[in-house]
Assembly symmetry: C2
Homo-oligomer: 151 residues x 2
């Protein structure tokens, strides 16, 4: 348990770093065999790429690093419930376990929305552990958007 907390803490650090770059602050860490193989925050503004959510960023980085198209056995830590796009990408990449922080009723797709991993068109579902660092993850987002409204 200490190890999973450590990896989620790294994801929170990535979320905080994203906020400083004026990106919606979500962070993700990808772990294989106990080793961090990719870590990133959301990069949609930096890259002008609507698909550069933190989850997609780390999946792409890890696949490039490992020179392979899928990530069987890898575990993904992310501060917010993945959206529909990311849930499908997580499935395609054959991620083993998904740990996430805050729920996202408006845009999530795991326990909210389309609940993709429970659908017939989902051909691989990770084990899901939600609610890790839920309060801290949500607080980073709340503070970011409150700051925006104050601008």
């Amino acid at each position: 348990m200490a190890e999973t907390t450590h990896f989620m803490d790294l994801a929170l650090v990535e979320a905080q770093a994203a906020a400083l770059r004026n990106e919606v602050p979500i962070g993700a860490v990808l772990v294989l065999d106990g080793r961090v193989i990719a870590r990133s925050g959301n990069r949609t503004r930096e890259l002008n790429d609507v698909t550069a959510h933190a989850e997609i960023a780390v999946i792409r980085m890890a696949c490039e690093e490992l020179g392979q198209e899928r990530l069987a056995g890898a575990d993904l830590y992310v501060t917010l419930e993945p959206c529909t796009m990311c849930a499908a990408a997580i499935s395609f990449a054959r991620i083993r376990r998904l740990y996430y922080g805050a729920n996202d009723a408006k845009g999530g797709a795991v326990e909210s929305g389309v609940r993709f991993f429970n659908q017939q068109t989902c051909h691989h579902a990770p084990e899901v552990y939600s609610g890790m660092a839920e309060v801290e993850s949500a607080e980073i987002l709340r503070a970011f958007f409150q700051g925006k409204r104050g601008e």
Copy 2:
């Protein structure tokens, strides 16, 4: 109508080119103000990137080309019904119209599966035109997988 047929023909050319690179043959073309701003086939194998479906490839290329994060007013032509990941990316990119060829009951997410554009967690839905070049699109896929089985 002649113009939309022309753009779908270009998407079919991209699908054929993908087959020659040993990629699952799906092609996409992105059009803004009557001009092709990006065209690509599926590139998942070439790039070791599970997210490099034809639709995502052209959205990324177009956003980079235009230096913007969204593609309001752009129309996407793709030979197969978009999957869950791509349907969400199409929504995020604010694509205006989606034209697609063959249906994909196993993995699609527009008229099949999660029918993402009809869900509450979808915050922008394109106009959808399906069935264009449906037979040709499906035939390219059928021939590709038949060839695979023969190998």
